[in-house]
């Protein structure tokens, strides 16, 4: 029974019809006469009938819930992403069940167990690297899933995202094109994220355009970026530009510069990654890469629903991202 105890059988009794007919009306089935349909709808409204989702899920084997596991939700591009997924799923009658992994494979596995144990129809994961146990479980249970926030042409598993390595490479070219030869790359913990590793590798691949190219690993928050850049500002290599693998780190870089009395971009250039909402408002406005978090969320939701409803196969999908040139990178040429 639902909370007020009205079941489909009550509606059937009330209208003198069978539960089959009620079910057909409620689900918009085609083979019902207009007269009957109206009568049923009226009775449903009058009795305040609401189908029991568990019963429905049991007999259809579909919960209409999609699960997503993300590393973090706080001040970052993931919040936008997850909000877009939630909206897009909602428009199609699906709900989002969410869990946060704190970028930890063990937590991710536990979260996946929990979410699948709740009956999620599909799973959205962040990044490409996941525990083998998790992957095995997905295969064994034949759960549809996608990897997001990354893209790998050669991946046998569906990835929907952007090419982190390429974007980092493009960012480095942008700095090089502006005459920067001594650059520091500030990124989050390598151990935690394949996306971070991809960005680092991408940046590294164009090292020949630089005199000095240093990589710094910092905790992935504003304080981490700030501390890291504060220290790097003392570095004898005297970097002219900082490429931050996240706008969050870039914000920390701004604060480090403010504290050290360095002006951006006159003394130091800073470039970000993400294009968070405040990036264009900060002073000076931050040059960054506009990651398509919203578009990615929508695409992921569309594709998952298309798979669930029509069996459209999940595939690799590459999303593009643009460098947004604003005022934080000086032209030294």
């Amino acid at each position: 029974m639902n909370k007020i105890g009205v079941s489909i059988r009550d509606v059937a009794r009330e209208t003198g019809l069978s539960t089959a007919t009620i079910s057909r009306v409620v689900n918009g089935g085609r083979k019902v006469s207009e007269k009957t349909r109206a009568r049923v709808l009226e009775a449903c409204a009058r009795l305040d009938y609401l189908p029991n989702p568990a019963a429905r899920a049991l007999s259809t084997r579909r919960s209409k819930a999609v699960a997503a596991i993300i590393p973090t939700i706080e001040h970052s591009v993931f919040a936008k992403f997850i909000a877009a997924i939630e909206r897009a799923l909602g428009e199609r009658g699906y709900s989002l069940i969410m869990a946060i992994s704190n970028a930890d494979e063990t937590e991710e596995l536990a979260a996946a167990r929990k979410l699948l144990g709740m009956g999620a129809d599909a799973l959205i994961l962040s990044g490409l690297d996941h525990s083998d146990l998790l992957l095995d479980m997905l295969e064994r249970r034949a759960v549809p899933y996608v990897f997001t926030s990354a893209w790998d042409a050669r991946s046998a598993r569906p990835t929907i995202g952007y090419d982190n390595a390429l974007l980092a490479e493009r960012a480095m070219h942008h700095l090089a094109d502006h005459g920067h030869r001594r650059v520091a790359v500030v990124h989050g913990p390598l151990a935690e994220s394949d996306r971070t590793r991809a960005r680092r590798a991408g940046a590294m691949s164009v090292s020949d355009r630089f005199e000095h190219l240093a990589f710094f690993e910092a905790p992935l928050d504003v304080a981490g970026g700030k501390a890291c850049v504060s220290a790097a500002l003392e570095d004898p290599r005297d970097f002219t530009a900082y490429l931050c693998s996240t706008d969050v780190l870039a914000l920390g870089a701004y604060f480090a510069c403010a504290e050290a009395g360095k002006r951006i971009p006159q003394d130091v250039s800073v470039m970000g990654f993400d294009n968070l909402d405040w990036s264009r408002d900060i002073v000076p406005p931050l040059t960054t890469i506009d990651l398509p978090a919203v578009g990615m969320g929508e695409m992921v939701a569309h594709r998952i629903v298309a798979y669930l409803e029509d069996g459209a196969p999940l595939q690799n999908e590459l999303l593009t991202a643009q460098i947004i040139e604003r005022g934080s990178v000086a032209d030294l040429t």
Copy 2:
């Protein structure tokens, strides 16, 4: 059946026991011999048996999912709150289903319909004001719920949160105590949020300590705060301090000051509300009110689960918040 087609009856057949016994073992029931328990557990593992959540929900009338509707998830205290809820629910074996209302009552109602239609056992709402249709629905369906991020001693419905009016009042006293007499309060859209209205009312209640007290309504994001403060800096009343109803708006205020060449706190003081992660890293560090987002999330989760499992009644719970004094408010005395 679950995805690989193993049901409780398969395990029963495999072990030569009845489904009742399997069920008892799986649910940690007490009346099973150790020998049997071990045998069942072994069979479950071998067959990779996973209970079907829909079947379980159908017969227990419990989905073990809690729904939350929040106005926004992007760069704000809500992300912390929701993350804490998710974690705390997870520890107790519950999942979080989330929807975003964009601070719109109609969207909120639609979201509630959807989430309840998914079978959520309880509903977490933000703020005190909600559409009557929503409230009626909750009562009719006897859905347990709490209002959060606000507290009202006189509320007949359970509220778990802080006293927004009182906190705003305390913030204003803080400014007055530091010798500020010309203060501007920057807040989000009044129409959207009872919390905003409460904060405004609280600030207003101590207007007699000020020469000039102005209220500005801005879009609730960094750009909004920046534009609003940029304009206010031109105001002939020459405010010495800006109280921002969110750190997000305060960040905008910082940027406005940076652009206008005003130094904080030498030329202008800024005070926030929330204590977001970067608040202590910004230069100068932001004086703000440390809202207990994490503690609130945990308490909400605890209380809801306690109600669901033990029937412990949901009540009003007041959480306290402290002013964190940092460097952004000048002492003019």
